[in-house]
Amino acid sequence: MQPFKKLTSTAVPLPIEDVDTDQIIPARFLKATTREGFGENLFRDWRYDKLNHPREDFVLNSPTYAGEILVAGANFGCGSSREHAAWAIYDYGFKAVVSSYFADIFKGNALNNGLLPVTVNPQVLDEIFRTIEANPAARFTINLEEQTFTNEETGTSTHFDIDEYKKTCLINGYDDIDFLLSQREKIEAFEAQREEH
């Protein structure tokens, strides 16, 4: 996993609530057996029409917006547990997603892949959307060590929460599996002492 410390970038707005993982990566693209290449089908059916022509009205096809931060409406990533959704977003080139809240499984998957989910309150989210609308070249800074999200356009900075352990993992690029493997003795001791039914 790639470490995440600090990022300054323009942002891509997706002001839609309840974006589900079937939109992020439709099921028909889940037949792959590796983790690579999902970015080209990110938001496939919003991004391309039936004839596979880019839909001009979709934000990823707009020449106006670009950046490594995706800003989306509430409850981003609801639905299926497919980690392919996090892989697709990361593979496309986003390093962080900002929303007022995330679906639990998606959030976990993102964190396990170096994609930072940043939760801000609904007012801050609205302000971010307004800032991008006014100036698509507006820049934002995410500082993971300080847990701050800064709107460089307005100068306002907001704190975001993240689990202390996950923060350390992201900053250093550590996977949970390395940690869990280091706990093998405790796991075996747990198995030995428990009574199972």
Binding site: P15, I16, E17, D18, D20, D22, Q23, P26, A27, R28, L30, K31, A32, T33, T34, R35, D45, K50, G73, A74, N75, C78, G79, S80, S81, R82, E83, H84, A86, Y101, A103, D104, I105, G108, N109, N112, N113, D163, E164, Y165, K166, K167, D175, D176, I177, F179, L180, L181, Q183, R184, K186, I187, F190, E191, R194, E196, H197
Partner: protein, 462 residues
């Protein structure tokens, strides 16, 4: 003081990590072809074996055809993925109920019917509907592929203990109202993110009176309101369902297990982080009108207008996709397809319910109907009871087991622009195929729609 959830969770904590996360021991891990290949690859790259092979069961469900299951899979990518599950299971020594095996089926149907699912255990699967198994009083939840790999390597996941919510439904259900209507009603009230961060316990007399299959339907859709999982206190109904199943405990082991399971229900003085109460009498047969499961309403109601709904910025987009108008009724509206299946409603009771309404009737000439049993065992039982004939005589296709048109990964797709009344769990855009328009409903409402060719209120057919 503790809730059912507390009792099961706390009994599985191996250790806690500074910051709040806990290492949670997993008793049973179910895997399938779609979310496991990258996990097996990860083990291979790290050069580590599976830690506890006997705690893993694999099946092929998401990507399998439901026709000609005895022949090699025609679609090359699907064939490759299903074959990869077979070779991975052989290489790593995992028990596989693959295509053609008498136990094959949707992972959340076979776990309970084989007696793998038990009260008081922890279960995971790389599938969000793993919450189904909570019906037995287990902690069961969906995980991503990185976590599938972690569980393979260590039999543990690392996560913070979710908050606790209780949803009570008391009273008597109206005739024609099923478990599916209860959960669609609850989700319509709480919204698609209303359960985020929580594990939900379903309680109350209307829940207690449900069969195990009805309880599974309820717990199955917990994820559709954003909950991490759902569960129900085990009781005599649970034990009666489990006794004698293939992998259920037997003899003295059974007695000891039941004794333990009786200690699991939530204590009378337990406190939840959130509580909701609903009256069973208030629940009508439900349908969905939009593109998430929270957009549901009684079958005779009209679609809300924007002013009636808060926080539904996607409502307009939804209506455009569905080809529907805000403020209109859907009752009487013509439909094109009926799909009876999925991990929500493909068990034998679901098929009996639908067949009971269909028996002696024909499906409407404009409707294509398919029935996909949840497992080989369900299919055999349905055939033994003659249910398959009821469906085929009416004009339905009766297929082999799999996830099928619930998610349209195989060739069972609904064409663009067509309306499908579906007993599945998600009405997301494109879920049943690009452009497909899904209306979620109970098996009874789906059966009624099939014979009348329209959305109808099953209470009027009774």
């Amino acid at each position: 003081m503790p809730t059912l959830f507390d009792k099961v969770w706390d009994a599985h904590v191996v250790t806690s990590v500074p910051g709040g996360a806990q290492v949670l021991y997993i008793d049973k891990h179910l895997i399938h072809e779609v979310t496991s290949p990258q996990a097996f690859n990860g083990l291979r790259q790290r050069g580590i074996p599976i830690f506890r092979r006997d705690r893993i069961v694999a099946t092929a469900d998401h990507n399998v055809p439901t026709k000609d299951q005895d022949k090699p899979i025609a679609e090359p990518l699907s064939r490759k993925q299903v074959n990869m599950l077979t070779t991975n299971c052989e290489e790593f020594g995992v028990e596989l109920y693959g295509l053609g095996h008498p136990y094959q089926g949707i992972v959340h149907v076979i776990g309970p019917e084989l007696g793998i699912t038990r009260p008081g255990i922890t279960m995971v699967c790389g599938d969000s509907h793993t919450s189904t198994h909570g019906a037995f009083g287990a902690i069961a939840f969906g995980i991503g592929t990185s976590q599938v790999e972690q569980v393979m390597a260590t039999q543990c996941v690392l996560m913070e203990k979710p908050k606790k919510m209780r949803i009570s439904v008391d009273g008597d259900l109206q005739p024609g109202v099923t478990a599916k209507d209860i959960i669609l009603y609850i989700i319509s009230q709480l919204g698609t993110g209303g359960g985020t961060g929580h594990f939900v316990e379903y309680a109350g007399t209307a829940i207690q009176r449900l069969s195990m299959e009805g309880r599974m339907t309820i717990c199955n859709m917990s994820i559709e309101m954003g909950a991490r999982g759902g569960l129900i206190s085990p009781d005599e109904t649970t034990f009666a369902y489990m006794q004698g199943r293939e992998f259920a405990p037997q003899g003295a082991e059974w007695d000891a297990a039941v004794k333990y399971w009786r200690t699991l229900p939530t204590d009378a003085d337990a406190v939840f982080d959130a509580e909701y109460h609903f009256r069973a009498e208030d629940i009508p047969p439900m349908i969905t009108y939009g593109t998430n499961p929270g957009m549901g309403m009684g079958v005779t109601e009209r679609i809300p207008t924007e002013s009636e709904i808060h926080g539904q910025a996607t409502l307009k987009k939804s209506m455009e996709y569905m080809g529907l108008e805000l403020g209109n009724k859907m009752e009487g509206m013509p439909i094109d397809y009926v799909f009876i299946g999925s991990c929500t409603n493909s068990r034998v009771e679901d098929l009996r319910l639908a067949a009971g309404l269909i028996k002696g009737k024909k499906i409407h000439e404009n409707v294509t109907g398919i029935v996909v049993p949840g497992s080989q065992q369900v299919a055999r039982q349905a055939i033994a009871e003659g249910l398959d004939r009821v469906f085929t005589d009416a004009g339905f296709e009766f297929r082999g087991a799999g996830c099928s048109a619930c998610l349209g990964m195989n060739e069972d797709k609904i064409p663009a622009g067509r309306y499908c009344v579906s007993t599945s769990n998600r009405n997301f855009e494109g879920r049943q195929g690009p452009g497909a328009r899904t209306i979620l409903a109970s098996p009874l409402t789906a059966a009624a729609a099939a014979v009348s060719g329209r959305i109808v209120d099953v209470r009027e057919l009774h």
